[in-house]
């Protein structure tokens, strides 16, 4: 069980900074360093260079499409998606990497989109919940969430599903205990955990 909690050398790893896995991998100190409000981060950035102040043109590849938007460098990936691209499927639950509601995939790895700036993700493949289905055909994880009632209010759901897809791909859904641990960076206040587990395990077992 213990070995499940640490990265395997060759499997793709979650790049998330969620409560459990982040703390376990990186320790509390780095977590604190990322915690200050993003306004303060932006202030720090502007102190180094005046040239990055103000909105600039940024191109993001989201769900297979190039999207160009004018944003300030301090805009998080989460806010860029929600407020500038109207991709509101990605949710803001805490804005501090504590709840996982904003989980998206960047180059196939799960990350908390509130903990990264949009400008840092240029040139990468960003996948959000809106890009998971193939047209009308839902992704197997989406189907499994509906089948197993893996949600109630639905607000943590996009993050849970993105995390679940990555969890399976990482090879971290091999047992119930392992999947529970590797899905614990995504909080659900309605308490749909047992159903989320059932959905993730079903997709994992289907291969």
């Amino acid at each position: 069980m213990q070995s499940d909690l640490f990265p395997d050398s060759d499997a793709p790893q979650p790049d998330d900074s969620s409560r459990r896995s982040f703390m376990k991998q990186a320790g509390g100190i780095l977590g604190l360093a990322l915690a200050p409000p993003l306004v303060a981060q932006a202030e720090r950035l502007t102190a180094y260079s005046k040239t990055i102040e103000g909105a600039t043109e940024v191109t993001l590849r989201v769900n297979g499409q190039a999207r160009t938007l004018r944003i300030e460098p301090r805009v998080t990936l989460l806010d860029a998606l929600r407020e500038y691209l109207d991709l509101t499927g990605t949710k803001k639950g805490c804005d501090h990497g504590q709840c996982g509601a904003c989980t998206v995939h960047v180059d196939g790895r799960r990350i908390n989109s509130c903990l990264t700036l949009a400008v840092m993700q240029q040139g990468k493949e960003i996948t959000t919940i809106e890009g998971l289905a193939q047209g009308e055909q839902l992704h197997p994880m989406q189907e499994a969430f509906i089948k197993h009632d893996g949600f109630q209010c639905g607000y943590c759901t996009p993050g849970q599903i993105m995390s679940g897809v990555a969890c399976v791909k990482e090879g971290h859904a091999g047992t119930d205990a392992q999947a529970r641990e590797w899905m614990s960076g995504n909080l659900c206040r309605c308490g749909a955990y047992a159903n989320i587990l059932a959905a993730v395990r079903e997709v994992a077992q289907r291969g």
Binding site: D86, C153, Y155, G191
Partner: protein, 781 residues
């Protein structure tokens, strides 16, 4: 209308339909694809601006000035609003009269930004409105607020807190017999003091308001509202507008658990800000602001004294509660209710004391009163079982209340004994070692505990509309909300069965005040009220079609008496000779009707049973719960296994069983999820949830999801949920009781009782964190 003349689902839909089937959520696809739109996601509004609160660092004091010079230089800033320049509401809740005018929708008798006073930490003191979120956040960070601080009072634990009895000497209102004397002469006397930490609802979706003035006197608000009508009324009163000029929309609601039941300051302040800048404005509370923006479950201490015979029959219950309240209000959870009604006991007395402190007003949180009250009572019952030497289930059966001891009324239905029995079977309770501290799994101490659950059926009523189209499709509507409870799904099922259609032909619409007014989704009232309304609206539509049929010379039902006609699966037919009749579609086509509409008021609880109560109840009011002939409650039993690490003090819940009797279960799939969710929230309250308030500064020290721990996936064991089939004709036309809250009642006690069984130590202070377990283990058992 009473139960004799109003049709009931039992009668018209005896054959199995889709009601009661485990239908997957009809809103599931929208939720798993990210298409479900929540209240902060209406970005289409022209010129939508962003608002951000500047909050107070101190818990008490006076604002002496603002320095906005740096903030104003931030590009895109539209307004910096404070008490000095914000347009003031027509009516504020700051006076008792104002609060009364506004109605039940506003919980807190104080609105920030109406004066220079600071009453609680993180109180909003200014709002910055800007073209982008980043500009608003930056300007708010640069805004300087000058404050003259004063020494705050942090909680009831502070000696200088002003204490008072909110019932003004009348006691808690509930009581019977001479409890003090009965306790004094009881052969067994138990006494315990139970503390419950301050808890926060923390729904995953933070509170959010998007306010759009469509005209100078017409407002559209997308808000995180559990109660559409309450919010519409409170906003219209505060703004001095007719209710019809205020439209509230909540299509999807990311959880609530009570905190979204009220109109909190951020909503009206965002509306006023939108007025001030002349643009639509959006404000979403930050997660830290969720700890100081939408209420909480108050920190509280209960002392319960229990007197019993040598055999364990209750003789007396004396309950005292002290909790923290705000500088203006006297809200407290009514813990005493469940303590007075759960078991047969001839003498009962309750006292309530509040202490004023510099905190915002606390509010309803899932089973307000019943959840913490049951922790005290069900822990004490467990103590009694051990003291007498009988099984914990046996002690509860011994004290089973065959009628409601607090009112003397018979129960409308009560299947509690079946819950105990089935729960014990599912859990394997018969294998339990009667001795404490005897069961081990390696070095871990293993314990089993159980507790009773109960939640009242509150009286409510609401309206619904059904429109049946001749092509066999239908729309049902009510201004209900679905905060994850499954309202969209279960009402689709109800409408489908009531109209004889398959659910894919029916759409249920909710979450908009232009729809028929109904009850708040709270107090476990929505399922019973809205389902009855939808069902009765369908019956109204059938009655209209029956009238068309009996006047139509081409109908097989021509000249039949309407009372002799029934509708089965969409076919209008004679009750006596069912072969004589026709399908609704054929009738409507011949009559040239594209659609027919039915409208009805559904009643829930005492209001359904008692015509008098129904007349007195207001559509936006919980009404009088005690007006009927029966006492109405959901019941249940929770069973829990824990494993305690004696070296670390950690407690893991490793097995869980809940069996619930909640009347007709509309959808066992969504209902099971709701019960598990309530139990998990209860496990959180039992083992980890606490908001810590610094006793000197009266500020929260852990207002974040990293520091306020809620259960995560790895905290949750395999859970088994079952329902007892129950037929209750007294509560409403559908026979539905609520289940959202009974799910959490007793859960913390079940965990505590399991810890007692594992360790022989009784822990009466929630949450039961490892430090408390280790401290207890160092004491003799």
């Amino acid at each position: 209308m009473n139960t004799e003349t109003e049709p009931a689902f039992f009668e018209t839909n005896a054959a199995p339909g889709v009601v009661g089937q485990p239908l997957s959520r009809v809103d599931g696809r929208a939720k798993v694809t990210g298409q479900a739109k929540y209240s902060a996601e209406y970005n289409h509004l022209p010129g939508l601006a962003h608002a951000v609160f500047k909050t107070s660092d101190v818990a008490k004091g006076r604002i002496t000035g603002f320095d906005a010079s740096a903030a104003q230089r931030v590009p895109g800033v539209l307004a910096i609003l404070t008490h000095q320049n914000l347009p003031q509401p027509a009516v504020s809740p700051n006076t008792p009269e104002g609060k009364k005018t506004i109605g039940m929708g506003v919980q807190m008798g104080f609105l920030p930004l109406t004066s220079d006073q600071i009453h609680y930490a993180a109180q909003p003191v200014a709002m910055v409105v800007a073209d982008t979120l980043e500009h608003a956040q930056h300007a708010a960070a640069l805004l300087r607020v000058q404050v003259a601080p004063e020494a705050p009072t942090a909680s009831y634990q502070d000696a200088k807190a002003q204490r008072f009895d909110p019932s003004k000497g009348k006691g808690a209102g509930e009581g019977r017999g001479n409890a003090a004397a009965a306790f004094a002469s009881a052969p067994i006397q138990l006494s315990g003091t139970y503390t419950h930490a301050l808890n926060h609802h923390n729904p995953m979706e933070p509170g959010a308001t998007t306010a759009h003035w469509e005209a100078p006197d017409r407002l559209l608000v997308y808000d995180t509202a559990q109660g559409m009508a309450w919010m519409q009324k409170s906003l219209s009163k505060m703004l001095g507008l007719p209710a019809d000029q205020v439209r509230v929309i909540t299509k999807y609601l990311g959880g609530g658990f009570g905190c979204k039941g009220s109109t909190w300051p951020h909503t009206i302040l965002t509306v006023l800000a939108a007025k001030a800048v002349g643009r639509p404005v959006k404000l979403a509370l930050t997660r830290p602001q969720m700890f100081t923006g939408m209420g909480h479950r108050e920190d509280q201490e209960q002392t319960l004294r229990l007197g019993a015979t040598k055999d364990g029959k209750l003789l007396a219950l004396l309950h005292e509660k002290t909790s923290t309240t705000s500088p203006w209000d006297d809200y407290a959870e009514t813990n005493a209710k469940i303590i007075g009604m759960l078991y047969q006991c001839p003498a009962f007395e309750a006292k309530l004391q509040l202490a004023r402190a510099n905190v915002m007003t606390s509010t309803y949180m899932r089973a307000p009163g019943e959840a913490p009250g049951s922790f005290a009572l069900e822990s004490a019952m467990d103590d009694l079982a051990y003291r007498v030497g009988v099984d914990p289930i046996q002690i509860r059966l011994l004290n089973h209340a065959d009628k409601d001891p607090s009112t003397g009324k018979p129960w409308s239905s009560k299947s509690l004994k079946q819950c105990y029995q089935r729960g014990a079977e599912l859990f394997g309770w018969s294998q339990r070692n009667a001795q404490n501290g005897q069961t081990r799994d390696g070095k871990l101490l293993v314990g089993w505990g159980m507790a009773t659950a109960s939640y009242p059926v509150h009286s409510g009523q609401g309206n619904a509309r059904v429109r049946l189209y001749a092509d066999g499709h239908a729309v049902a509507q009510a201004a209900a909300t679905d905060l994850g409870t499954g309202t969209y799904t279960v009402m689709t099922q109800v409408a489908a069965d009531a109209l004889g259609l398959t659910p894919d032909k029916v759409r249920f619409e909710l979450g908009d005040t232009v729809l028929p007014t109904t009850i708040i989704s709270g107090g476990s009232m929505a399922a019973g009220t809205v389902s009855s309304s939808v069902y009765l609206a369908a019956q109204d539509a059938w009655q209209k079609l029956i009238k068309v049929a009996v006047m139509d010379a081409k109908s097989p039902l021509f000249r039949a008496k309407p009372a002799d006609v029934e509708v089965v699966q969409g076919r209008l037919q004679l009750k006596a000779t069912p072969g004589k009749g026709e399908d609704f579609a054929a009738l409507m086509k011949r009559a040239g009707l594209d659609d027919v509409e039915g409208m009805a008021t559904g009643r829930y609880g005492a209001g359904y049973e008692s015509a008098q109560a129904a007349l007195n109840a207001k559509s936006d009011d919980a009404g009088k719960d005690d007006a009927g002939q029966h006492s109405m409650h959901s019941f249940g039993a929770h069973f829990c296994e824990v494993k305690v690490d004696p070296e670390l003090g950690t407690v893991r819940v490793t097995k869980w069983v809940s069996v619930i009797a909640g009347g007709r279960i509309l959808n066992p799939k969504t209902a099971r999820s709701q019960i598990m969710g309530g139990a998990i929230m209860g496990i959180g309250a039992a083992l980890m949830e606490q908001t810590v308030r610094d006793q000197n500064l009266a500020r929260y020290t852990n207002a974040s999801l990293a520091d306020y721990h809620i259960p995560v996936n790895a905290d949750v064991p395999d859970m088994t949920v079952e329902f007892i089939d129950e037929h209750d004709p007294y509560i409403n036309a559908m026979g539905v009781k609520g289940i959202g809250e009974v799910s959490i009642v007793g859960t913390a006690a079940a965990v505590g009782n399991a810890i007692f069984h594992a360790t022989g130590r009784r822990l009466r202070s929630l949450p039961i964190t490892p430090d408390k377990v280790l401290d207890a283990l160092r004491q003799p058992a």
